[in-house]
Amino acid sequence: MKTLLYKDLQRKMLILTMVVSFAPLIVLGATMYYQFALTLKSNTEEQIKYRAQAQAEAVDLFLKERTAILCAMADTHSFREMVQEEFLSSIFKVMNLRAGAFVDLGVIDTKGIHQAYVGPYDLRGRNYYEEPWFAEVMSRGAFMSDVYMGFRKLPHFIIAVRRRENKESWILRATINPGILKEIVRSAQVGRTGDAYLINRDGIFQTQTRFTGDILSQSNLKTSLFGKRVTTVELKNDQGKNMIYAGSWLGNDKWLLIISQNPTEQMASLFAVRNVEIFIIVIGFLAIVMTTVFTTRLAVSRIQQSDMKMQELNAQLVQSDKLAALGKMAAGVAHEINNPLAVIIQKTGWMEDLLAEEEFQKSRNLDEFKLSIKKIEEHVERAKKVVHNMLGYARRMEPRLENVDINDTINQTISLLENYSRINNIEIRTDLSKDLPIIAGDQSQLQQVFLNLLTNAIDAIGKNGLVQVKSQRTNSSIYVSVSDNGQGIPVKKQKNVFDPFFTTKEPGKGTGLGLWVSYSIIEKMGGAIRVESSVGKGSTFTVEVPIVARERR
């Protein structure tokens, strides 16, 4: 029952402590993880945004350079020079030498006819008049196409510039291998899953991508999602994976540079952090569990101990309360008995007096009367003795304080009983500590206590036995124990031995007051009496007397 209570207490303490210590740990861990993930994500976005922008600038630069070279060539040479294919060829060489990436070069006249061409395909004589770009380049002066297949069945794009010369216009047109764009763009891709490519306004790939799709195929990206500045969006790709896309429009507003990346790849460091966190939390968890279990066990066992002490103390308190109440009652009863006794004794005395008169001397029953009176007196005397024992010993007086040598007191008491014990062949052996201090106390009361204990010990033995008296000290108390090898006291009766009128002696032999009186005396001194006994082996009564400094009047 009690242990259940302690178990319950322990369980509650455990749960409470753990909840209180784990809750913040877990909340902290979760918050940190979440914050870190957030920061990491925005970092990743910033990074690819930055790369998209930088790369778009690089592509822009490349295209501007090509356009600029083409413009320079057109502006510095006349139509007449340019249509000579040898000359054109030398220019083409110079251009490729300085900048590269040109696949071919051609000169187209006002009517859209390809007048001169240098390059791997035979395009001379083709008419571009109907092509939409022709009109555009004629009106706007420069043009860059999307990537397309065209006549040659290879993806390419062209840059064309117009030159006005003597009211006539002609066009210098160059084809550029989009593979070069791919090289520039691809340098922006990162990681195992990263990709970088160009798309046009319709979402068609302008460069070969790494994973996402072939050149000139549809990317399925809505270009409208990407605003004027660098924009990131998070979308599911064809495989259903979440991808971050960063898009940056090129300067010509036709093409969009896209960098795509799987966010989880960047999150590897996050997972590392998470794992460390989990590890720390688990370790903390274990540490907390262990300490909590340990401390609660300790606390509960302490509580248990103090409870036990409390119980003992309570039992002692109950005992002394009981004895005090009994004592009060006994005293009251004794007093009430005293008055009738006083009257009885006077009345019998009076009868005695009267019997002494002459007229009764001849009475036949005179002796009987006298005997009866004597018996009455005897028994009144007996009753008086009981009452006096009760009252006389346990006087409601504070013990006197005089210097007491406990060992001396013991020896004196033993000498009082020497005859009695010798007659019964009982040896009294002493083992007295030599370093007992002289204490302040009431010697006659202490002697009374020792006398009671010794008499009891001798009576418990009856004949032939050994009584041992021992004195010891601790820092605060002196202990005197009186042991006999007599009949012992059954456990059931042990708790009653200090009750008034409780006796195991034959009727008339003991009043049952000795131990009670001793108890009261010792209790008043601030000490205690304890009994240990086992039937057949004997009993030990131990008196604890606190060491009270002497000369404290």
Binding site: A331, A334, H335, N338, N339, L341, A342, V343, I344, I345, Q346, K347, G349, W350, D353, V380, K384, V387, H388, M390, L391, G392, R395, R396, M397
Partner: protein, 142 residues
Amino acid sequence: MHYFNVLIVDDEEDFLETITNRLKKRDVDATGTRSGEEALEVLKEKTFDVVVLDIKMPGGMDGIEVLKEIKKLYPLTEVILLTGHASVETSIEGMKLGAFDYLMKPIKLEELLQKIAQAIEKKDAQEQKVRSAQIKKLLRYW
């Protein structure tokens, strides 16, 4: 033979009556009164050598009060206290207040007689001293 008288004060009538009778039987001039008030009344009329006074008399005047009164009015009268146990301290207090001695109930008549005799002796000595003091005083004015 020196003549002396004793006043017994006790609220227990049986006790009072018997002890008075027994003392009278032994030629002691004994008077019994049942309360402190009564005793003080009687003392106004007649001088007593010894008063045997029960300390515990519920109802009327307390024994100690009676003692104080007697010692105030008749300092040469000796008082023997009778007590039950609970009044041992009271008895001691009584001794301090000038009682001659105390006896614990129940008492034997012999004990009481002894104490009375002692009290008378003391009283005689006391009176003797008073007398000689008075004589000295007289001599001084001679």
